[in-house]
């Protein structure tokens, strides 16, 4: 009990600090990578390579004037940044980030809370992030803010369904909702990583994750071309900064989730040495490194996509969500469930590399007509064909 209390407090402190520092560095990384992609230098004056830029930004935000619109709902206006920021951090609590650490008093799981419903907890708290944005938009008493808030609600509810459906496939394969079990199932070989047997689920998940985190190409809630800055138009100083911290915390959590659900979590590829007891501190450190590397790749992917793709139009966003992603996710779950039933219950295969490769083949077969259809319908390629058809 004492060990549990002490280790939990220590883990909470460490995870919170690491995420906050990570978020600060991520704001810098975003600007540097954006600059690099646009053949500029980016912020490089404060500290070596601009490393202290986040600290300078933080200081500036603390010292700036806090503004409060005249007819805003004061309580909600103050509360909204905090509400948007808390769920993003809470979600991270159930993600296992390394192999258990042995201590003289027993093994300590490297996850803040190993819940029996781990995975559903993520969906539950992920769905709460929208409150902050909606309340910010409404309480500002500004029509652009309100429009941003409305868009955020519609967008997040639409894509949440696709997100949930895509993860049903992971549950079907994993057979359990605890994330430690999901990782253990994937750790046998490289091909048992869920991204191979469930490639299309990963595709749906990543699209929905971009929509859920309000990142380009789906950042309609703040679309500055139409809505000034959307839901945070009226915010300044630290409250504005809180929305940024929330956005980046969401990205960190989404990246960690992709790693956990589809890329084997803290599993080190090409070896099974790291998966089984006896646990050693070396294993903990190395698996933590593997987890960090994988997560960093997805963080980079988020930035990369943001500075590559243009923004969707709102009707395109909704059409993609309801007419493509949702039916696709539903159909995919049906197909995968049938395939697993055939392989597991009818042919009696146990889950191993052969099983995963068979499902991977099925995914490839499905992917060819899918991407053909997606492109022919011009749902992703843009509005030119659509407008031509209308005229």
């Amino acid at each position: 009990m004492t060990l549990f209390l002490i280790s939990s407090v220590a883990k909470i402190l460490v995870v919170f600090t690491v995420i906050m520092v990570g978020v600060a560095l991520l704001t810098l990384a975003e600007r540097r990578i954006c600059a690099w992609m646009q053949d500029r230098l980016g912020p490089n004056r404060v500290g070596p390579q601009g490393l202290l830029q986040p600290a300078a930004d933080g200081l500036k935000n603390f010292l700036k004037e806090e503004t409060l619109p005249a007819r805003a709902d004061k309580v909600l206006f103050m509360l909204a940044p905090a509400i948007s920021f808390v769920p993003a951090l809470l979600t991270f609590a159930v993600i296992p980030f390394a192999a258990p650490l042995p201590t003289p008093w027993g093994d300590v799981d490297m996850v803040v809370a190993n819940l029996p419903v781990g995975f559903l907890y993520i969906l539950a708290f992920g769905s709460l992030g929208v409150y902050g944005i909606v309340l910010a938009g409404w309480s500002s008493n500004n029509k652009y803010s309100l429009l941003g808030g409305l868009r955020a609600t519609a967008q997040m509810i639409s894509y949440e369904i696709a997100l949930g459906m895509s993860t049903v496939a992971v549950l079907l394969l994993g057979g359990n909702v605890t994330l430690t079990d999901v990782i253990a199932k994937q750790s046998e070989s490289l091909f048992t990583w869920n991204v191979f047997p469930l490639s299309l689920a990963f595709f749906i998940f990543i699209v929905a994750a971009f929509a859920e985190t309000n990142r380009l190409p789906f950042d309609l809630p703040e679309a500055e071309g139409e809505l000034i800055a959307g839901y945070h138009t009226e915010y300044s100083a630290m409250k504005f900064s809180m929305f940024y911290i929330a956005e980046y915390s969401n990205i960190v959590t989404a990246s960690a989730l992709m790693t956990t659900l589809f890329f084997g979590g803290w599993d080190i590829p090409f070896t099974t040495w790291d998966n089984a007891p006896p646990w050693t501190p070396l294993k903990t450190v190395l698996t933590l490194g593997a987890f960090t590397l994988k997560t960093s790749f997805f963080l980079f992917l988020f930035i990369w996509v943001r500075w590559t793709l243009p923004r969707f139009r709102y009707d395109q966003l909704m059409a993609l969500g309801w007419k493509v992603m949702l039916p696709l996710a539903l159909g995919y779950v049906t197909i995968i469930a049938t395939a697993i039933w055939l392989l597991h219950d009818q042919l009696g295969w146990t889950y191993d590399t052969r099983f995963a490769l068979a499902l991977f083949g099925l995914n490839l077969l499905l992917a060819v007509p899918l991407f053909f259809v997606l492109d022919r319908g011009h749902l992703i390629a843009g509005s030119v064909a659509e407008e031509g058809g209308r005229a």
């Binding site: 559903l120 539950a124 708290f125 709460l128 997040m156 509810i157």
Partner: protein, 173 residues
């Protein structure tokens, strides 16, 4: 006092206070948000009962989806600002008081009620079931086995609601 009991009373109190705030606030947005707090407190009470799965579904479905839709509709129709009272005249007030009194009597009656023996579980049964087959199958197996027909009939109810909504929204199909 037992730690669990302290947590129970904290969340039970929060649930009652937020539920009262939900029905007494004039602004629809405030009411909706207080309802979210109520749902959260109920989820916490479910966790205390060892029903983590139900607790998570409570947050996922009610707090995460349904209440967000509530807020969406409130904002879309721009009902957010405090409106006039819903109690119309002395007649409305009398009916309201009578209904509330009836509910109160029922609540007092419930205090003496004993759950039927079929529903009472021995302590530790839920924890053991969860350890044996995981949290979700403990709920899923009865739902898709023993109670399959009631479950499927519920979906017809939902379908009827959807059809009704479409008919109301689109007079001309």
């Amino acid at each position: 006092m037992d730690g669990t009991l302290i947590i129970f009373w904290a969340f039970a109190g929060l649930a009652v206070v937020s539920a009262l705030s939900c029905i007494t606030r004039r602004s629809p947005v405030a009411s909706a948000l207080w309802l979210v707090v109520t749902l959260f407190s109920l989820a916490a009470l479910f966790v205390l009962l060892d029903a983590q799965f139900i607790a998570v579904l409570q947050v996922l479905v009610y707090a995460g989806a349904i209440m967000v839709l509530f807020l969406f509709v409130i904002m879309l129709l721009n009902l957010g600002r405090p409106g006039p009272t819903d109690l119309k005249g002395p007649m409305g007030l009398t009916v309201g008081v009578l209904l509330a009194g009836g509910l109160l009597v029922q609540l007092l009656g419930l205090r003496r009620a004993v759950p039927p023996p079929g529903l009472a579980l021995a302590p530790g049964v839920i924890a053991r079931a969860a350890a044996e087959q995981g949290m979700v199958p403990a709920v899923a197996r009865p739902l898709f086995g023993t109670y399959l027909v009631p479950f499927e009939i519920t979906s017809i109810l939902l379908l009827a609601a959807i059809v009704g909504a479409v008919v109301l929204a689109k007079r001309k199909l």
